[in-house]
């Protein structure tokens, strides 16, 4: 079964690129347009892995991750942080918010896929 991915980013371009990359690699992708919308989509899906942006309207990436982690069923759902900054303190903040890993934007498609497999495994292995 294909891995389910929830990707939350307010930029349509980034969502389009994620869609292209994810569907090309055989993932089933769902999208949220900001933190609040992401949580709504989360209600209707059960993603194997979540990708989120940092700067978003209504609820930013940190808020989103915390809100996801508060839900018992997503306590250990892998969450990748998609960010333009790669400063170490940002990583530390991401991790303390509960992020599993991070991908520097603009992302390299292969690297993103590798990272997804790294945190969520291969769909068929489940």
């Amino acid at each position: 079964m294909a891995l389910q991915v929830l990707a939350v980013d307010d930029s349509r371009t980034i969502r389009d690129m994620l869609q292209l990359t994810l569907s090309g690699a055989g993932f089933d992708a769902h999208f949220g347009e900001d933190g609040v919308h992401g949580l709504e989509v989360l209600e209707q899906t059960s993603p194997d892995v979540i990708i989120t942006d940092l700067n978003m309207p209504r609820m930013d990436g940190f808020g989103f991750i915390e809100a996801v982690r508060e839900q018992p069923r997503h306590r250990t759902t892998p969450i990748l942080f998609l960010t333009t900054e790669s400063a170490p303190e940002l990583k530390a903040r991401a991790r303390s918010a509960g992020a599993t890993g991070w991908i520097v934007k603009p992302f390299d498609p292969d690297k993103l896929i590798r990272a997804l497999h790294m945190v969520a495994g291969n769909g068929d292995a489940r």
Binding site: E33, F62, E66, P78, S86, G98, T100, K105, P106, N122
Partner: protein
């Protein structure tokens, strides 16, 4: 169908998104300039720039990334409250937004920009934060090149001789509790590692306590692995990047190839020190987690209700679908054909003598209604608010006013008015020129304004509205008005008009539209650019529009553009005159009436008016105006169409017969015949006949007054006015 390159499509949609982001940036900056100081407004601006940067990075648009990054950095200072949004800061923010706009355009069109100009804006911008342009700006920008993933694994430096050693890596890996809390899973990491090359894995379970002592959330396992792959260290370390700091990790080269197998195997044996859960690293990781964790939540909690305040629009994005414009155009054309087809069907049904209350007629009526609805919907797809256009004009005003040292405030009205996309695009150039003119020529210098008792800040007003089936766009200024004696003098000097002519005010104003009229003596470096008002007028005309000018000394000048709502279909009244079928746009007809001889008044040998409800309206014979016939002697009981101009003035057009009202598909004549005076376009009627579509206002403006009523018959001179004369006499 060809499969379009998905990246090219995303790239195209990125630029569309950029336009939207730039628009919300403008909105945000305008709100800030207007005094909005809530954090959400600056956040909106920040996110707009940030998103442009993010997307631009994906396409390797380095110039755009670099600028957006530095712009964003300064904006972040304001976001953090270290920089106040004073007038100077806002001015620079606007200017930077303009440069960003240019960079987006340049990236899209593959053109280049003046580096120095960009750099100057940046350094001024960065001057706001007190610091000199940060060198890190450049350094950080490097991080946005694709593929970069920083690997800051401390204490894992390889010595040169290690690097030269045999292929293979020994890895010992002991996850800590925190690794699981962040959602990482050792199993997947090991799987990922095994994809790098052949992997030998040993799991050390010696530390697992008896079941009754087991903490289900604690980790008691550790792994020793040997990776037989000739890859560099980064490739291995990359896999553990996410768990760096939440596990104990050691990566080292196998020392030799043959003996190395055993050596490695030896080293794989569980190390007694690392086999036991080590309590020490845990508290070390906790401090990272504790203090910063609650902050973002609190911040998010505070900012989330903020969108209730001014900039609410971006908070509730509408669902949209992107469609290739060609597809819409194809649909518009098809609907056009459908309208023609429906007209033909109506005609055949009428010719068959089918009664009006028959099911066929009813069905046809519904069909007509549906066709109309489809048409409206299709037109709505193409329609866009003029807001983006107006925002571009805001920039023109900023730039123009700065270069001639005038203080100018742009007031816009009716930004939500929707106009066909093509019209909006093609309006950009003429409108730019008009706005520039208003700032440059329309408004007086600051001293003169003050001397005239006006505020030194001039106002340029830009408005859009729907009126009588057309779109009216006005550019007005509160300047000194047109200097009519001077305009007339220039026109005479340039030989555009004979000297000594008596001209009315509006005739003088219209001299500005003459080709070759350029008020060079007062043109500053700013306007001009080789475009005169004649070019503005012809570009408006090519859109089926009209431009009018009005001016009041001391009070200002107004330029009014009137445009059709759509470029494809028209509601028209089909009339017959002198044996020809003509379509008159329905929107311009106020009413139709049958003329009684007593209503006609004669103002002179060539001018008649009709008396309608307390007002006098000029009377024109359409047949004579178009040169189809000589004016008739007798107009008693003729059919008259009362036509209204946008400014409310009216004329009456005499026709022979009104046939019907219907929708017609506009087929342009411009390409084949150029601008035909009095004629807007042509169409194909239901029976396949070609009919001209009248431009009543143009016709009225050029009216020769060749129409004479019965009483004038005796004094008709012995010649017939040719079409040429009738149309050009005005």
């Amino acid at each position: 169908m060809r499969a379009p390159d998905p990246m090219a499509e995303i790239r195209a949609s990125f630029f569309v998104e950029c336009e939207e982001l730039l628009e919300s940036l403008q909105d945000g900056l305008t709100a800030m300039e207007g005094g909005a100081s809530d954090s959400e407004t600056i956040n909106v601006c920040f996110r707009a720039v940030h998103s442009i940067k993010g997307g631009a990075g994906a396409f390797g648009l380095d110039d755009l990334v670099r600028f957006a990054h530095r712009y964003e950095t300064v904006m972040d200072e304001m976001r953090a409250g270290r920089l106040s949004a004073d007038a100077e800061a806002m001015r620079l923010f606007f200017r930077a937004a303009d440069v960003l706009f240019d960079l987006v355009r340049a990236a899209r069109d593959g053109t280049s920009l003046d580096e120095a100009d960009i750099e100057a804006t940046l350094s001024e911008l960065e001057g706001l934060t007190g610091g000199s342009p940060k060198p890190e700006g450049e350094a950080e920008a490097v991080e946005f090149t694709p593929m970069t993933l920083s690997l800051d694994l401390p204490g894992l430096d390889i010595s040169p001789d290690e690097a030269a050693a045999a292929p293979g890596w020994d890895i010992s890996f002991k996850p800590e509790r925190e690794l699981f809390v962040t959602g990482n899973e050792p199993r997947h990491l090991l799987a990922a590692l095994s994809e790098v090359g052949p992997l030998e894995t040993r799991c050390d379970t010696s530390a697992v306590p008896p079941l009754w002592d087991l903490d289900p959330e604690e980790n008691y396992l550790s792994w020793s692995m040997r990776l037989a792959a000739d890859v560099d260290r980064e490739r291995v370390a990359e896999i553990f990047d996410f768990v760096d700091g939440v596990c104990r990790l050691d990566i080292s080269r196998c020392s030799s190839d043959v003996a190395g197998a055993t050596a490695c195997a030896d080293r794989l044996s569980p190390d007694p020190t690392s086999a036991r859960p080590d309590p020490e690293p845990e508290p070390a990781t906790v401090p990272i987690a504790e203090p910063s964790a609650p902050t973002p939540v609190a911040a998010a909690g505070q900012t989330s209700p903020a969108p209730a305040s001014p900039p609410e629009e971006p908070a509730k994005p509408k669902q949209t679908v992107r469609v290739d414009l060609d597809r819409i155009d194809r649909m518009v054309n098809l609907v056009g054909e459908l309208v023609i087809n429906q007209a033909m069907l109506t005609q055949s049904v009428a010719e068959m003598g089918i009664p009006a209350n028959s099911p066929v007629s009813h069905g046809l009526e519904e069909f007509m209604q549906l066709t109309r609805d489809i048409q409206d919907s299709v037109m709505m797809i193409r329609a866009q608010p003029v807001k983006s256009l107006f925002q571009r004009m805001a920039r023109i005003v900023r730039e123009a006013s700065a270069s001639v040292d005038k203080r100018v405030r742009l007031v816009t009205d009716g930004e939500a008015t929707e106009v066909d996309k093509t019209v909006i695009e093609r309006l950009s150039d003429p409108l730019t020129h008009m706005v520039r003119n208003a700032v440059d020529h329309g408004l007086e210098s600051r001293d003169k304004r003050v001397a005239a008792g006006k505020p030194d800040e001039g106002v340029v007003r830009l408005s859009a509205a729907h009126r009588s089936g057309r779109v009216i766009i006005e550019v007005s200024d509160d300047g000194a008005g047109i200097n009519r004696p001077k305009v007339k003098q220039i026109a005479e000097e340039k030989g555009l008009i004979a000297s000594g002519l008596q001209l009315s005010d509006s005739e003088i104003d219209n001299l500005l539209f003459l080709p070759g009229f350029s008020t060079a003596s007062k043109v500053s470096d700013l306007s001009g650019r080789g475009v005169g008002m004649d070019v503005v007028r012809s570009s408006i005309q090519s859109l089926g529009g009209r431009i009018a000018i009005s001016s009041e000394p001391g009070r200002g000048t107004t330029l009014q553009i009137s445009l059709p709502l759509t470029l494809a279909v028209l509601d028209g009244m089909v009339v017959r005159v002198a044996g020809e079928t003509i379509v008159v746009p329905l929107g311009s007809i106020v009413e139709t009436l049958t003329l009684a001889g007593s209503e006609i008044r004669h103002l002179g040998p060539r001018t008649s008016v009709i008396h309608i409800r307390d007002s006098f309206v000029p009377l024109l014979d359409l047949g004579a105006e178009l040169g189809y016939r000589t004016p008739l002697g007798q107009y008693d009981s003729s059919v008259v169409l009362l036509i209204a101009k946008e400014d409310g003035s009216r004329s009456a057009l005499i026709v022979d017969e009104i046939q019907e009202q219907r929708q017609v598909v506009i087929k342009g004549l411009q390409e084949s015949y150029g601008h035909v005076p009095g004629i807007a376009a042509a169409t194909i009627l239901g029976d396949g006949q070609v009919a001209l579509i009248l431009d009543p206002v143009d016709l009225m403006a050029r009216a020769s007054g060749a129409t004479r009523a019965a009483a004038d018959l005796t004094i008709i001179p012995g010649r017939e006015p040719s079409a040429e004369e009738s149309l050009h006499a005005g």
